[in-house]
Symmetry: C2
Subunit: 355 residues, 2 copies
């Protein structure tokens, strides 16, 4: 089994190093190879996703990804900015199914902005379509407006779109995930305004008929943004498009109060996957040794489960993370009085010891 390790920018290298340490401690037959990505790759090779990095990723069974981005690249032309690496990988590998769990750990409930009774035991799985929608639709660009309110002036535009098979395959992913959990899917759309999401709603409804054991409901995206705040535990699996999923998955992860704990997976139809923490590159704390490596370590567990068929090893990592939390170890982002503050490396070491 071959893993491409792409640490990236900011705290990426530090947190990925701890996940690699945990994987090594499991004594599996895994080959790991690293390559630069994002701003680091721009510095090293003039492009956020250099051909060698892309090739490594394409040939691997899975990608362990840190994070990309830094304010200092904000002035680069868009195709050279760090985030193009992640968009490029999604597109090149066809990683259409993004899994974003929003879990509130018992020990960390108090860290949420929400009242404890609203988030205690929270366990939502947001499934975001990742290769379609307005992220990749053509045409897009700038032009002179020919209609609208101000014809003759400069306008910018993008194309939102989904085809029937694209919606079908992500719907199947969602219903199958729900079958293994709470047996409930909420499909989020804006069918009252958008043609794209009227088709989305129609197709998800059709696919749902093949899963009579799963309850399906539909919610407009504005209402979903509200219900996540009002009563997050009403959700089990949420499935939505790329743009709405970007917004709602971030909102949901922030509800837990501990985004430093949340992993993610992005899979294609061959179960090849990219695994990364839900949080970003946090350049402000990079190099200080205080970042929380647990989201990345839990992403490695997802990788073992989804792409490498190593369920037992995945569970071992998850149990070890549970244990370090129960033992009161905390990085700065989740620290509270009465617990023990540890560094990035100490947290990684503690997980290895708990395996």
């Amino acid at each position: 089994m071959k893993i491409a390790v792409l640490p990236g920018d900011g705290i990426g290298p530090e947190i990925v190093a701890e996940a690699v340490k945990v994987l090594n401690a499991l004594d599996l037959d895994i080959e790991m190879e690293s390559a630069p990505v994002g701003g680091a790759a721009y510095e090293a090779a003039g492009h956020p996703l250099p051909p060698a990095t892309l090739k490594l990723a394409q040939e691997a069974d899975a990608i362990l990804f840190g994070a990309v981005g830094d304010w200092k690249y904000d002035t680069l032309d868009r195709p050279l900015r760090p985030e193009q690496a992640i968009l490029g990988l999604r597109k090149a590998l066809g990683l259409f199914a993004n899994f974003r769990p929003a879990i509130c750990y018992k020990e960390l409930t108090h860290a949420s902005s929400l009242k404890p009774e609203l988030v205690a035991g929270l366990d939502i799985l947001i499934i975001r379509e990742l290769t379609g929608d307005i992220y990749f639709g053509q045409p897009r660009g700038r032009r002179v407006a020919t209609d609208g309110h101000f014809p003759g002036t400069e306008e910018a535009f993008d194309t939102m779109r989904y085809s029937r098979p694209e919606i079908e395959r992500i719907a199947h992913v969602a219903f199958q995930a729900a079958q293994k959990r709470g047996k409930k899917v909420t499909s989020v759309d804006k069918a009252n305004v958008l043609e794209t999401f009227q088709l989305w709603k129609d197709v998800v409804t059709e696919v749902g008929q093949q899963y009579p054991d799963v309850a399906l409901d539909h919610m407009y995206v504005d209402n979903a943004a509200m219900q996540l705040v009002k009563e997050p535990k009403r959700f089990d699996v949420v499935v939505t498009g790329n743009m709405f999923g970007d917004i709602l998955s971030d909102e949901a992860s922030m509800l837990t109060g501990s985004i430093g704990m949340l992993p993610s997976a992005s899979l294609n139809d061959k179960k090849q996957g990219l695994y990364e923490p839900s949080h970003g590159s946090a350049p402000d704390i990079a190099g200080k040794g205080i970042a929380n490596p647990l989201a990345t370590i839990l992403s490695a567990a997802m990788m073992l489960r989804f792409s490498l068929g190593q369920e037992a090893a995945a569970q071992k990592i998850e149990a070890a993370v549970q244990k370090v939390l129960a033992d009161g170890l905390r990085t700065a982002d989740i620290y509270s009085e009465g617990t023990t503050r540890v560094s990035t490396r100490e947290m990684g070491d503690a997980v290895v010891a708990a395996l």
Copy 2:
């Protein structure tokens, strides 16, 4: 001064009746005329926005709007559904500037999902562009896909777009609003992915240079959805496009825990405006006399301020609402132990008495 009164569906008629009562009690020189809209208009005239209703709205100085929508119209063709009335009014009257305050009233802080210290004293103004973006962009529809992942299959599509003058005028509205408040504007975009919002960001930045007394920052929409949960009080004025504004303004109003209290205004460049509560038509409680009329009453106050130049009367209404809250009067949605539960009508009467 002429006001078009459009009560609409669900609880619309009940709450609008109370706002009309308050306006009448002020003894201003106002002429009010009612017309059906939404599902009620579909029933009465076969269309959610009949020509007579549109004409009345166009000729009025302001529109007092209740709410539209009911599950029972979900199966109608899209052009006949209730929400087309509100989209049609926005478009026909050019109501491009939507003001959505998210205010947490001292007496109601406990009703928020968020911990009290995070929302006590919250006062955000979300300014949403309301006549552009993917809501109205052409072309849109269904077709056979010619490229993308599944060429040859059915796809649905929509067009996102903004022209430079559309962005300029809403940016001016936001900066001028900020000058009267906390002197801070946060512009929300997705410039890292969308051409439309790269132009948005560029133009807002340019316009911002004309307002050196206002601090401007830029935030990606996914991050904004998170920061609203994490630290809502960091915001003063938030300005964004139609689609992102739909999502974020609803998220922000739910943060306050008392969406039944929140008014909204939608203005054009002639200060003609549509005023409506931020909440919906709530068909489940329609006709029971328990809906909260305060958001609508406060919308009437915004109407007096923005469209009718009656600042003193607006303040009188707002002070009266403060007084009934301080007196402990509560409709069911904001009731808590130790306060006095009142009906829709009793709440309206109490505001009139407090004027």
